[in-house]
Symmetry: C2
Subunit: 232 residues, 2 copies
């Protein structure tokens, strides 16, 4: 009865591998553009910023697509990874929340080129509704369910303020969506079977600050006590 939702154990492709496949795909696309026909695991690993043994093991989870003594056919590998990731089909994506971040996402070219078609932009602010962004007219958030159903949206991007995120989340799940990309700084509560991925702009900075502090101090501040004057 235990169903681990965000895991990729279906056919045994480890999550860590799935997370790196888009990286390999990007490196391969760059090579294809430059006309490279085949590539060794060593070179591809270098371009993707990983170690070559890891790359080979990752690819081996998809199948045996290399040729010993030669390497991997760039075009063929692009196809295989794309297929595995589900990028050979078209995904209709709706973006909820059209602030600066929503606009940045709507205009980001990296989506369309990978099979992600933006099928709707929605916002609750009447001042934003009706704006034309990236070729789409912003619709009112009230239309959320209807947009999802009519346009076959299967992935929803939440780029709303934190306060609205859970409500939007509940509604899109009720409308049948099971894949959500959340940019709002909240932990969304979702039922089993729904995948949520989270991108948090400030968490990354905080992790950097941690390392930067360590570099600067050569160790943590040793005063572990509560400083004077702070009320407990």
């Amino acid at each position: 009865m235990i169903r681990r939702i965000p895991q990729a154990r279906d056919r045994g492709i480890p999550d860590a591998t799935v997370a790196r496949l888009p990286l390999y795909l990007r490196a391969l696309n760059g090579m294809a553009e430059r006309g490279t026909a085949t590539v060794s695991s060593e070179d591809l690993a270098l371009a993707a910023g990983v170690n070559s043994a890891k790359l080979r093991k990752d690819l081996s989870h998809l199948g045996s697509y290399g040729t010993r003594g030669v390497g991997y056919d760039v075009q063929y590998l692009i196809y295989q990874i794309s297929r595995e990731l589900g990028l050979t089909q078209d995904w209709a994506v709706a973006i909820v929340g059209v602030g600066n971040l929503g606009r940045a996402l709507a205009n980001y070219g990296g989506f369309a080129s990978r099979g992600f078609r933006i099928a709707g932009l929605l916002d609750a602010d009447p001042h934003v509704v009706g704006d034309r962004i990236a070729g789409l007219v912003v619709e009112h958030a009230d239309e959320l369910e209807s947009v999802i159903r009519k346009r076959g949206v299967s992935i929803v991007v939440i780029a709303t303020p934190a306060t609205a995120a859970q409500q939007v989340c509940d509604r899109v799940i009720a409308a049948g969506v099971t894949s959500i990309l959340n940019f709002a700084p909240v932990v969304l509560a979702v039922p089993d079977g729904v995948d949520v991925r989270k991108v948090d702009l400030s968490i990354e900075l905080q992790i950097l600050a941690f390392h930067e502090q360590r570099k600067a101090n050569g160790g943590p501040i040793m005063a572990e006590e509560w400083p004077d004057g702070v009320v407990m």
Copy 2:
């Protein structure tokens, strides 16, 4: 001679733990705002979306800040986590690339409230230079080194197009910066001792698409062969 740069083994705090501390901090801040004085590992874990044993083990790496039978003092724990992450000091951050994403970052309230002060906005486009965003005037990218040195910038956010990212990266490293948050879809090459964290808007969508495909098909497409008509 092997120096693992992006690792946090300085005082033995695992990377996985460091990555979750900001999450706990956010949950704690919410509780503090609602006036909660103490919290159990169970409740805090619930709010942060992790399991309580993991939370306790994470916190135990920082020290023994809980009280058995009671829980954790919210204010005290906020202080300890903040200190460990280096958020009790002020960090000067420069954002390079003021497109939609750069603007979203500049306007994002989550930075200022955590000790990250935006000390500079830079762009290479003369049409953008001079714009006033979030209280700052956008400066020309030529000023990069001077802004970094004069304002004590220690963390740089790269929000430029992919083509400019490596060049910007090289320049900020030459100017002494060792912590970089990269939003451009490229793998940056950096020397030892420089931390790069990467946020990739399209990789997350691709991972979602993978899981969504698995849900839809109940397994991978079984045609593993190269489709007819595609040139190898």
